[in-house]
């Protein structure tokens, strides 16, 4: 069987690489202690002989059932993949940007309001307002200072808790007049016509400040959301997909769910349990991928990985 992995994040590894890459994990068999990112790297190395393929930075939005029972999976960027079986190993959902509370936010999403910088050239010679105080707000302010016509960084505090080097670089750029730095202010409103034209802020004395802006980039981190998974006709209990523990199948034929995204009596959210679920699921999925073949159970120790 061949496996194609689609992930909304731009890198492999889910929570491990996104949230705690440098944290040690102590409950992986065979590793008294291993860093989360090292575990991901090792898993990738282990998967290599099976030639998996990847679509990263795109969220799966639609599953379309075909006449033969297989699916066409379509992503947020319109990539489509034909699959005989779908395995949802989505953890807590897809990591999506946290949105600030701001009047007219939805109106200008995609029309000047962006939650991530996919292509910096979009912002060339434009007036850009960045909001946030973390590392990504600091890093993109520094980067876009040389690309945009004008970058304004808006932060609600007087100081930054991000990397000290980046923070001092931002203060230097402001001092040199290369960017505008507005501290102790909050986003209040987005305004414009068909597109974003202005960003209205409120300072600590509740005074309004109006900025001309072609783009607003709020950078307030990521948070997992179940997202489109909720629309696929699966049985969902408290944000998790109910599965049959005989093979971790969902109520929809050819769709399986493994890892933290599934739920069943006695479920434990452990990486260890995810591995177990994956192995059982694979043996069940085989019948859809190769309906004419009989599955024979083999050990890598006997046959080597190339026998599979």
């Amino acid at each position: 069987m061949r496996c194609h992995l689609i992930d909304a994040l731009p890198q492999i590894g889910g929570q491990l690489s996104e949230i705690y890459p440098q944290k040690p994990i102590y409950d992986i068999p065979g590793y008294p202690e291993i860093n989360a990112q090292d575990l991901v790297d090792n898993l990738m190395e282990q998967a290599k002989p099976f030639h998996p393929t990847f679509t990263l930075g795109e969220r799966v939005d639609f599953l379309d059932r075909q006449e033969d029972g297989s699916f066409i999976v379509t992503t947020s960027d319109k990539t489509s993949v034909h699959a005989k079986v779908i395995v949802i190993a989505g953890g807590l959902g897809c990591f999506e940007p946290r949105k600030p509370v701001l009047t007219n936010l939805e109106t200008f999403e995609g029309k000047g309001i962006h939650y991530m910088v996919k292509n910096p050239e979009t912002f060339r010679d434009k007036k850009v307002v960045i909001a946030g105080g973390g590392d990504s707000a600091l890093d993109w302010t520094i980067f876009l200072a040389n690309v945009a016509e004008r970058v304004t960084l808006v932060h609600r505090n007087e100081t930054f808790r991000g990397a000290p080097d980046s923070a001092s670089k931002v203060f230097d750029l402001a001092q040199e007049g290369k960017i505008d730095l507005i501290l102790s202010a909050n986003l209040k409103e987005a305004a414009g016509g068909d597109r974003l034209e202005k960003v209205i802020l409120e300072d600590k004395n509740h005074q309004e400040l109006v900025l001309d802006a072609d783009y607003l980039i709020p950078l307030f981190g990521l948070s997992p959301k179940l997202g489109p998974i909720a629309d696929w006709g699966l049985s969902i209990d408290k944000n998790a997909i109910e599965v049959d523990t005989r093979d971790y199948s969902t109520g929809v034929e050819r769709i399986y769910a493994i890892g933290d995204i599934n739920t069943y009596p006695g479920k434990l959210k452990l990486i260890l349990c995810g591995f177990h679920e994956a192995a059982i699921m694979m043996h069940s999925a085989f019948k859809y991928v190769y309906p004419d073949q009989k599955l024979s159970f083999k050990y890598t120790t006997v046959n080597g990985v190339n026998a599979f």
Binding site: Q15, I19, Y20, K23, L92, R98, K99, P100, V101, G132, G133, G134, N157, F160, R161, G162, P218, F220, G221, S223, P224, L226, K238, N239
Partner: protein, 109 residues
């Protein structure tokens, strides 16, 4: 087993009294999850995701200020408050008796 009581205000503003044991080494996040409050606690209690963000409405004196690690996370949020904390970093203990805690993390739905 010694029990303490405190009040939790959910995202909809409804208040309920919650009882928790002080001798099991639990965090406030763990008690909130066990009480079926809709908090994500994505990172499982490592102060790395801020999804267990709470605001201490009453009883902050006993609980103290947010630590640097908590502030690093809170800073990333679109909004936080002077008495914001991460529930995963609050140990259940006598200092929580009578406190009023408002859930501020994103709703799980």
């Amino acid at each position: 087993m010694e029990l303490i009581k405190f009040t939790v205000e959910d995202q909809q503003g409804e208040r309920q009294e919650v009882e928790a044991p002080t001798d099991m080494g639990l965090s406030l996040m763990e008690i909130l999850k066990a009480s079926e409050y809709p908090i994500l606690a994505t990172c499982g209690g490592m102060a790395l995701c801020a999804t267990c963000h709470v605001e201490i409405l009453d009883g902050q004196e006993g609980l103290g200020d947010a630590t640097d690690t908590e502030l690093d996370q809170l800073e990333n949020l679109p909004e936080y408050f002077p008495t914001s904390r991460l529930a995963c970093q609050i140990r259940i203990g006598d200092q929580l008796e009578g406190a009023v805690i408002k859930l501020r993390g994103e709703d799980v739905v």
